[in-house]
Amino acid sequence: MSEEKEYAKPLPEFRPETKPYWEACKRHEFVLPRSKVTNEFFFYPRALSPGEDMSEDIEWAKASGKGKVWTFAIHHMGPTKAYKGEPPYVVALVEMEEGVKMMTNIVECDPKDVYIGMDVEVLFDDVTPDVTLPKFKPVKK
């Protein structure tokens, strides 16, 4: 992770439709795209909002950064060789308060303690000087 010398895992691309998202992450702010037509949040970031409207009328709105673990897997094997030798890590689908789901990692907790329905909140991992990834950790009771 951040303490590694060179971050070799796959990184996101900054494209016009995703740039505001990654720039906000870099500022440690959590934003989500929202259709101005339906006022509904959606995820992943894209040029046209989903659904029947398919509108370009999209805004970036500050989101709570809070959600619940919907499901998860504890990985003992990653998708690229950069994961080799890593301790088991959690890939989870988090259902955000805003209704969208996102694929992310649960960190700052023993994988064995993660459960469906666990309350989690966003934290930001500055993996390279340019890229910050949003991850989630358990909400302290």
């Binding site: 895992k9 796959p10 990184l11 996101p12 691309e13 995703t18 995820f43 992943y44 919907w70 499901t71 998860f72 897997a73 504890i74 990985h75 003992h76 094997m77 990653g78 998708p79 690229t80 060789k81 994961y83 080799k84 088991p88 890590y89 890939v91 989870a92 689908l93 969208v100 789901k101 996102m102 694929m103 992310t104 990692n105 994988p111 469906i116 990834l133």
Partner: protein, 467 residues
């Protein structure tokens, strides 16, 4: 004018004795739109005749809108003239360092033609199912690459289809459509994957490309994680246990042992599976995963009338369906079912005019144990949530009510990704011919194949019947 129509599918049925003038209009219009129209005629016992039109032009809606009563319930009952499987061939499945992708594909294709009793020059079209040749063997443009050493005629279209793990099933479907269109009398379909060219972590990376690279893979997601997350939801919602998952492993390893072509020829006990500590993506362990396999499978399809001349025991395609679903896991509402399976199965069952109860034998996509449990629920063999207990009770065993994966499935027979959907047709054909040896399901008359791609974004179902 009574007729039936459904959104977003490529199929229309017209029913009327005075249908010809309209058809002419349709035909001209569609030629104008440069789309393919397949006309099928069939006589009914009643006073009117039924004409079905099968079109691969997806936007048929545009052309027929003027005839649609608004809000009308759209259903499709019957579809097309019969296509038969007249030849099958396959390589052994396993790890074959000494055999190239080309060797495997050509071997399977040649065996299928021999089985059908036809020569390469009899083939009118060739479809190839392959997922990741460009990654595994650095080769693209694979269909003519394989077609030319097989000795196909120069006028034969050779087409490669990539639909992740459903590449094979989709290729078979295209072959059926080519015959239905009147463009071909005999079609060769080959599925092939050569996977053991790189170490397991690299295989995992290549396979992960069937997921959403940008939004899933970059957080460390792999293919096993898809199914691990589904398994966890299934456990959470329906109380499915590791013992239920293990029951799939034990059954499929047992079946694989009866299949001389299977990759894994080893039986395994429930205790051994449950004790095994090699976690891949918790809750899934080594014994929940399909294998990394090299292999190829092939079928020869023919119009039914031709098939009688060629094959000892033709097997007919009586129904098929292909459907799609949200691409990525985070877009799905329910991870305990595959909407694409439900839709594809519905189309296939309606077309075949049968119910799940009528199916005697199936090959389903058990890329991970949980996938078989979800498949037998989605296909309607058992109620939702009961796939695990039913498997443990032997419902899907060779002598059970719904024998599933007599070949050993992806779990034991192996999963050369692009070959799998074609191989399912090979196995069901063997079963319906009564040539499946020790794993023969008694008196199998109707068989079903179920092939999914990615995290269920594609599903292809075929229903075959003894000819």
């Amino acid at each position: 004018m009574a007729w039936q129509y459904r959104d977003g599918v490529d199929l229309i049925q017209l029913e009327n004795s005075s249908v010809l003038p309209m058809l002419r209009g349709v035909f001209l219009k569609s030629l104008y739109h440069n789309c393919f129209l397949y006309l099928l005629t069939e006589t009914t016992n009643f006073f009117c005749s039924t004409l079905s039109i099968l079109s691969s032009y997806t936007n048929v809606e545009d052309q027929f809108q003027f005839r649609l009563a608004p809000g009308r319930k759209k259903e499709v009952k019957k579809v097309m003239k019969k296509v038969s499987v007249i030849g099958i061939g396959k390589t052994r499945y396993g790890v074959f360092k000494e055999k190239s992708l080309l060797d495997l594909a050509v071997e399977a294709g040649k065996k299928a033609m021999e089985d059908a009793g036809i020569a390469p020059e009899d083939i009118d079209a060739f479809y190839l199912g392959n997922f990741a040749g460009s990654d595994f063997v650095n080769q693209n443009h694979l269909a003519p690459y394989i077609g030319s050493p097989l000795g196909l005629r120069p006028d034969v279209p050779c087409t490669h289809i990539e639909n992740a793990c459903a590449s094979g099933g989709s290729s078979v479907r295209e072959g059926i459509l080519a015959i239905g269109s009147g463009n071909a009398n005999k079609v060769l379909v080959i599925g092939v994957e050569k996977m053991n060219t790189v170490p397991t972590p690299k295989v995992t990376e290549f396979l992960a490309k069937a997921g959403d690279w940008e939004n899933e893979v970059k957080v460390g997601y792999t293919f096993p994680s898809t199914f691990a997350m589904m398994a966890r939801r299934h456990m959470h919602q329906y109380g499915t246990t590791r013992e239920h998952l293990a029951a799939v492993t034990v059954k499929n390893h047992e079946n694989g042992l009866k299949n001389p072509y299977a990759h894994m020829q080893k039986s395994v006990t429930m205790e051994k599976v449950l004790e095994d500590k090699r976690v891949v993506a918790d809750p899934l362990r080594l014994y929940d995963c399909s294998l990394i396999t090299d292999g190829a499978s092939a079928v020869i399809l023919s119009e039914k009338s031709f098939s009688e001349t060629f094959s000892r025991k033709p097997v007919d395609v009586i129904g098929f369906g292909q459907a799609n679903d949200s691409f990525a896991l985070y877009q799905k509402q329910d991870l305990t079912r595959f909407d694409a399976t439900v839709e594809a199965a519905k189309s296939a069952f309606i077309m075949a005019d049968i119910k799940p109860d009528d199916v005697d034998v199936s090959e389903v996509h058990d890329c991970f144990t949980i996938a078989e449990i979800i498949a037998i629920e989605d296909l309607g063999f058992v109620p939702k949530g009961e796939g695990g207990p039913a498997t443990l009770d032997g419902v899907t065993s060779l002598d059970g009510r719904f024998p599933v994966n007599p070949s050993g499935g992806l779990k034991a027979k192996g999963h050369p990704v692009g070959a799998t959907g074609v191989d399912q047709i090979v196995e069901i054909t063997l079963q319906l011919r009564g040539e499946a040896g020790k794993r023969q399901v008694n008196d199998a008359e109707i068989g079903l194949t179920h092939n999914i791609g990615g995290s269920g974004a594609t599903c292809v179902v075929h229903i075959l019947a003894r000819g």
